[in-house]
Each structure stands twice: as structure tokens, then as C-alpha cells.
């Protein structure tokens, strides 16, 4: 039950990239690169380089290390972290650190007297327990529904929502295999006072055009309408009846998007009513496959909606109110 925030990429299209290429040639370049770099600069400690944040014995920080190899190198880490507590805190090593470093002699738990050691141990237990519970909850949150989540789903939701919600079914279990185009047509009052209606205007195609040739597509084009429509579909039943608050919100949302888009073009009069529909067309099967699919797009048509001030951007609403007065 998505109670909340990022019921983002609901369903398979996931909104976010599912991975794609990642490719063999890369593999060759690796052994060449990494180890060489390793040898080049970091000889002093490369043997114990642990791979992950766990710079093992020689805290990489030690300025001595970097100093020894590359000459004009380290302006970026000029500080070379002054903190260089090799295995154990080194006496006399004083390193006030950016976000807080002790300049104290004995560092770590070994430098504490018994009562303080107890306090440190308790902190360790508490912090460790919190982290374990958190990771457990996150795991249960992303895992498929199972025995534990059926019994303790509420506890999991309580922990995870709203800020730790996540969904990593990126293009999974199956990628979306259809293009969903959202289209709108409008009824407006023309200059001569007559009511006219437009043809279907493909808003998704406009998005697509904006995305094409762009290295940095905007969320406005890539996510707004696409996810709004998803939101509408998941919060309505087949007869376009909203289920609860979210259903009502989603209606108003797609309506506002459509109206804002219509206002960008000059129809020749104020929009009175709009109608939305989606045209879902399956992606053609790949050329090498012998699958056959229905080529005709499937339409889902929503009822006509009368536009009220609440559907308009603020200044437009104000204008309209004045005009009506």
C-alpha cells in the first residue's frame, strides 16, 4: 500500500532507468587501469587496500603517504586529512578536523576510562541495533510480500514511510512494452461567441519532441505528465471513479497539466471544457522475433470536464474572474 510519497515509478516502467549496456570491452580496461593507478601513487599502502571504505591499516589520510609520491599533486587535499590515526591513535597526532575531530591523545575506546568505556559500549550497541533494524525494515520494504511482511507490514510501513520509501524495480519484472500517449481536446468560446472544439492534441508527443536531442531532459517533459497519468490510472477504477482523496487529487492534477499546456497555445478563446484520453500502443516486436501483436492503439477516454478557476494557473484564474465580472 503506497501510503505516501514516492509511489514513484509504480509498476514496471519505473520511471528510472533500468540498466542497459555494460559491456565486455570494459573488462579489459580494468586490470590495466586500476592496478596501475594503484602502483603509481599509492604504493605505500596498496597491499592492504581493502576495497571498500575501510582503509585498513594505514589510514589513507596520512599526509605522509601522499606526500611521498606525487609532487605537485595534492592541492585538492592539501590538508591530507591531518587525522592520521594509523591502526591506533598515534600519540602526538593532532588533527582538528573539519567536522569535528578530536585533538586528543588516546583516541577510540582504548583511550577511555572504564565508566566512559561502558558508555561507549552502550552507544555502540544502540547505534548497531538501530542500523540493523533499519536495514531489516528496508529489506522487508523492498522484498516481495512474504510471511513476515504479512504479519508485521504495519511496523515496516511505520518505519519506512514517508522518508525511506523506495522502489528499485527498475524496468522489472518486465519493462513497459507500450507507449502511452496522453491526448487532450478542448471546447472553447471563439471570438464570435460560438463554441468550438479542437482536434485531439497529443501532449505526450510534445514531451517526446522536447526530450529528443536533449542531453539533459527536464523532469517537466520526462516525468510530469507521464507520472501524473500513472497516478490517475492507479487511483481510479475502470469506470473512472476515483478511490479516495488520491483519486480526486490525481484528477485535478492531470486537468491542471492539460489546461496549462493548452494555455501555451492560442486557441482563440477561453477554454470551457476539456476531455482527456490515453492512446496505448504496443511497441513493435523486435525485427528478429516472430511475435505478432495488435497494432491499433487502445484508447481510454475520460469524460468531459468543465474547467473552473481551480484548474487554471493563478494569473489566468484572476484574469478570468475579472473578465466574468
Amino acid at each position: 500500500m503506497g501510503t505516501g510519497r514516492m509511489d514513484s515509478f509504480e509498476r514496471e516502467d519505473a520511471g528510472a532507468g533500468g540498466p542497459s549496456p555494460g559491456n565486455a570491452p570494459v573488462r579489459d580496461s580494468v586490470p590495466e587501469h586500476l592496478p596501475r593507478q594503484t602502483r603509481q601513487t599509492a604504493q605505500p599502502w596498496s597491499p592492504s587496500e581493502p576495497g571498500s571504505p575501510e582503509p585498513g591499516s594505514p589510514e589513507p589520510g596520512s599526509p605522509a603517504g601522499s606526500g611521498s609520491s606525487s609532487g605537485p599533486g595534492h592541492r585538492l587535499q592539501p590538508a591530507g586529512p591531518p587525522q592520521a590515526p594509523a591502526p591506533l591513535g598515534r600519540p602526538g597526532d593532532e588533527g582538528p578536523l573539519g567536522d569535528g575531530d578530536s585533538g586528543s591523545r588516546g583516541r577510540g575506546i582504548a583511550g577511555l576510562s572504564l565508566p566512559y568505556q561502558v558508555a561507549a559500549a552502550l552507544s555502540l550497541a544502540l547505534i548497531g541495533a538501530l542500523a540493523c533494524v533499519h536495514l531489516g525494515m528496508v529489506f522487508l520494504h523492498v522484498a516481495p510480500s512474504n510471511t513476515v511482511t504479512k504479519q508485521h507490514g504495519e511496523a515496516v510501513d511505520w518505519w519506512v514511510y514517508p522518508e525511506f520509501e523506495q522502489n528499485w524495480k527498475l524496468f522489472a519484472p518486465n519493462p513497459l512494452q507500450q507507449n502511452v500517449a496522453v491526448q487532450v481536446r478542448a471546447e472553447y468560446t471563439a471570438a464570435d461567441g460560438s463554441r468550438r472544439s479542437t482536434d485531439w492534441i497529443d501532449l505526450s508527443a510534445e514531451d517526446g519532441a522536447a526530450i529528443q536531442g536533449s542531453l539533459l531532459p527536464s523532469h517537466v517533459h520526462q516525468n510530469m505528465l507521464r507520472r501524473a497519468w500513472d497516478f490517475y490510472v492507479t487511483s481510479h477504477d475502470g469506470d473512472n471513479r476515483p478511490n479516495g482523496v488520491r483519486g480526486q487529487l490525481s484528477e485535478r492534477y492531470v486537468r491542471r497539466i492539460a489546461v496549462a499546456r493548452l494555455m501555451e497555445r492560442d486557441l482563440g478563446g477561453p477554454v470551457e471544457r476539456i476531455q482527456l484520453r490515453s492512446a496505448t500502443s504496443a511497441v513493435d516486436p523486435p525485427g528478429w522475433s516472430d511475435e505478432k501483436i495488435e497494432v491499433k492503439p487502445v484508447h481510454r477516454v475520460l469524460p468531459w470536464w468543465t474547467i473552473t478557476a481551480a484548474d487554471l494557473p493563478e494569473d489566468a484564474a484572476r484574469d478570468r474572474a475579472e473578465a466574468e465580472r
Binding site: 532507468g17 555494460g22 571504505p53 569535528g100 585533538g103 582504548a110 529528443q212
Partner: protein, 403 residues
Amino acid sequence: MRRGNGFDRKVADALQRITAAALGPYQSAVVRIGFAGAWLCFLLRELPHRQELYGPDSPWAWDMARRLVAGNDAFTVLVWGDGVLWFECVYALSVASSLLLMLGWRTRAMSALFMVGVLSLQNRSIFMGDGGDNVIHLMALYLVFTRCAQVWSLDARRAARAARAEDGAASRDRTGPVLWCLLGFGLLVGTFLSLSHRPGLFVPLLLWVLWLAQGLWWAVSRYAARSQPHTLLDVIANLVHNTALVVIMAEVCVIYATAGWYKVQGSRWQDGTALYYPLKLDYFTPWPALSELLAASGTMVMLLTYGTVIVQVAFPFTLFNRRVKNVLLVVMMVEHAAIAVVLGLPFFSLAMIAADAVFLPTAFLVWLGAAAARGRARLRPRGRSREAPRQHEQHTAHRTLVG
């Protein structure tokens, strides 16, 4: 008996290691720079669209956001007011805090502000985001627990200078206390403002704890340096940092494991055509010719499809072998770079690469830092004259400090 002793010793050593230092200074720094940078780039890119995405008059209107947030307790300061000015301030604050976090200026404070900025904007319009926003959201929360400015930061540079200038330098620092007071005032005002909205407790509580802890740390460092309480606080901070780093790493594993294991179940991933479909989706084909090219060969699509699933499923397990892990890391980063262009998801990819970076080997990061510094020196030759003495200074400093 002896074995027992050996075990005790190992436990003691491990305890000492995780309490004496904030481990992975380079990894935490690169994660900080990566995520702050990704969010900064995103905000700058969306500058022309900011009103449409998060402004009071966005299609996802302010009152709609407020209604939704009231139901799910998400944290966003944007529901406190519907003024354009308020929105612009929050957006600007988010830009500034991500820039400063990237540079590592007053990092702990900036990481808190960064989190507030990210959460406020994203929770304001949850239906604008995608996977990239989701990763940034989570990492913004985790980053506040880390000591991520030990290297590659203005904080580290300042600390090194202060160390060289002997004592007394610390007492001259006015900015820290002033910033702390300002943020405390802001927090107080924010708390009162938010009372009427009955927000979720988690984030405000977290902010207050952070603020108090910073104050306590400052006071103890100043008046009782090298005392037992001081060491205890340092131990706790290290523990929190190290734990947060583990959580970040686990989160990355969760991402790949989830993405991989759910794919295994999909028929399209099984028959080796899955990758073909996103290449045909209008919303994910910024370069149709390129997509066409990739989709042209059935064998290539199948290899990439299988390769993707294998890499994602395998990744968490390769952490036990450094060499294999590094190979996979490169593969995944290249893959994300390709996704950035081919599917038009640059910020998602940037965020994922930043997340992957937590697993980069220290030696590589050190080399990268040195290379970046060399590149910078080459780009700005006139800076060299200034550079030289400082370099010298540094070396003497090493000698007094270490040698």
C-alpha cells in the same frame, strides 16, 4: 586458552578501529561530492522550470501538495507558506547548500541544510521524481550522519591550516558559532511555524539532535579538549559515521539486488529482449537513431540484457572479492553513463554513479585526487607562484607533524 586470547584481541582491535577513526574518508568524501553535485546540477538544469515543478502555482498546486503531505507526514518546509518568495528562498537555499556541501564548507551544517532542501523540494511534488530523485533523497538522509569532510573539503583545509598555526587558531573561529546560532534560530522559528501543520516528527527531531550535538561538540572541544567526555563524543561520532557508511553500502546493495532479482522473474529478461523495449519508449529515446542502432541486433540486445541481470544480481556477492568487485564497479559505472545518454536519464545515472563510488578503492581515489590537483595546477599556471610556497609549507608541516 590462547585461542580465546587471540579472539579477544581481535575483538578489541576491531572495536578500537571502529571507534578511533571515521573510516573511509575518501569514500565518504566522494559520496558527498557526488550527491551534492548531482543535486546541484539538477537544480541548475531545472532553474527555468522550477516554478512548474515545485512552485506554488505548479500544476501540482500548493494546496494539493499540502493535502497529500497532511496524509503521509512527509517533511517539507514548502507547505509552510504558499508565497513565491518563500519558494524562491527555499530553492536558492537548496542550491547554496548543495554547492557548499560539495565544497565541504561547514560540512555538518551544510549536510543538514542539504537534507532539508532535498526533502522539501521532493516531498513538495512527489510525482515529479524518478529513481534518481529517490536515491538522492535517501543519501541526503544518510549523509548527515557521516564525517564526510575529512578530505577534499574546505573544512579539511581549514583544519590543516589551524593545525599549522598552532593552538589559538581554533578560538579565532567565529563563523562556526555564528552559523550555529543562526541555524538554531531558524530551527526554532521553523518548529513554531510547522506546529500548525502537525508534521512528522522524524526530521525535525533529527535536526534538533544534530544541532544540539554540534553545540555540545563545540563546547567540549573548546573547554575540555582531550578530556574523557571529549574522547567519548569523538568515539560516538566515529561510530555513527562508520555505521552510516555501512548503511550506505547496504543501501546500494539493496538497490542492485532488488533491481536484479525482480528482473530474473520477468519473461522479457528471460527471453533476452528486455533491453529492446525501453529503447522504443518515446519518453526514453532522446536519440532515436542511437536507440535504433542498439536495438538492431538481437544478439547484442540479448547479451546486454543478460549481462545487466548478471551484474546486478552478482554485485552484492562480489564485495567479498576485491578484484571482481572493482571490475563490476567499472562495468556498472560505464553502464550508467550509457543509460544517461541513451535513455536520457542523466541525473539518475549521476546519482547511481555517486552511490557506486562508495565502493571505489582508496588507492584509486587518492590517485584521482592527485590527478585532479595536477590538472588544476596545469589549468591555472599563474596560480603556481602562489602554489609553490604553500606546497613547501605543507612539506615542512608534515615533518613537524609526522616525521
